[in-house]
Symmetry: C2
Subunit: 221 residues, 2 copies
């Protein structure tokens, strides 16, 4: 049931008809992502975007559809790059995974090679007048992140590195809250060191796996 009798299905046959694009789509998307990251969705104007991307409006619309689709692509790229940079589910225990995730966020949120804070969090506040589709996409991403956290903790309970009595949902909510709060603090200009101190405090709350005496060994530090 192939489309043709002749085996012309090359693995990469981009025949490239018409005038080729004069800009790199990926780097243009990266530039757009930075603008959305810094300003949010609505406050980022087409002029802001085209200037940062180095192209003119018609090229933007031809390559990305419209502002909303461009934002959705930028959001996907943002999430993917964050997830790739921090494969926290690879950690052996739920506690290690969460600590790694929080530590990564504390450093990334205060990184100097990109805007401060979290792009998704900016998007929540700056999509009040956006379409329902976009708002739903943003909310879904955030809910999925919380659910992913919860699933990792639940896995820890099943695998035995988290006490059986632990409340995976409540813990996921708590650490999600801390991560959201850290993103706001970073936006306010709070230092990386302060964020890391907050991570350390938050991790003291993670239920100890072994005997009761082990809990909070860092209390005297």
């Amino acid at each position: 049931m192939k489309k043709s009798a002749v085996p012309v299905d090359a693995p990469k046959p981009p025949k490239a008809r018409g005038r080729p694009r004069s800009f790199d789509r990926e780097s243009a998307l990266a530039a757009a992502m930075d603008v959305f990251w810094k300003k949010g969705f609505e406050a980022a104007s087409i002029s802001d975007l085209t200037e940062a991307m180095g192209i003119n409006p018609p090229s933007l619309y031809a390559a990305f559809g419209d502002k909303e689709q461009l934002f959705l692509e930028a959001m996907e790229r943002y999430e993917r790059s964050r997830g790739d940079s921090c494969p926290y589910s690879d950690e052996a225990t739920a506690r290690a995974a969460i600590e790694r995730l929080l530590t990564y966020m504390a450093t990334d949120l205060t990184g100097s090679d990109h805007p401060r804070g979290c792009m998704m969090l900016m998007a929540v506040a700056t999509s009040a007048n956006a379409s329902a589709r976009l708002k739903k996409a943003v909310t879904d991403k955030r809910v999925a992140a919380r659910e992913h956290l919860r699933a990792r903790i639940k896995r820890g309970i099943e695998e035995g590195d988290v006490p059986r009595g632990a409340d995976a949902s409540a813990l996921a909510d708590f650490y999600s809250t801390v991560m959201n709060g850290m993103a706001m603090m970073a936006r306010d200009g709070v230092s990386r060191r302060s964020l890391l101190a907050t991570v350390e405090q938050a991790m003291q709350l993670f239920p100890a796996s072994s005997a009761r005496g082990k809990r909070r060994e860092a209390a005297a530090a």
Copy 2:
């Protein structure tokens, strides 16, 4: 060096010349606050505001100056109402004060008689294109709130209800982070119960005042 020889300086001589204002300034400001609360600064248009306030643009500009000054007044009103509703510094101990503050926020952020989330937090994200003056005003308010928290904890250390070894700044940062995060969670639609559960978890981290054995009595709950 009084301005006149005759003692006409009455305590309240609002002689009210000209046509009186046909709307109540306070309730109009309250309506504007709700719009800013829901949409943020930039996404709230003058039409949004005038419609909610029940007035026309010239009345808005005559009574409040411009959009930015109106927002600043709305922000003052917001902070004042929140502070009046929760005089957390009245509590005897720093721990009780913080627990009261967090509990109040968990309920208020999910209140049904106003928009979800925190107006100040919306403002941070939606003032990217606003004037430097407005951005500074918002940041100053948020920094002041953290400093107020820190001062209360420090007072607790001095008064003996918080252990001498406690780090007031780190604790203030942590609970500020939790509050910011709760505001985002509320915006996402998380339930009041979940927020209160987060508060309960966060309070377990507060340093115990008395002997070492007292810490985390709620661990078995």
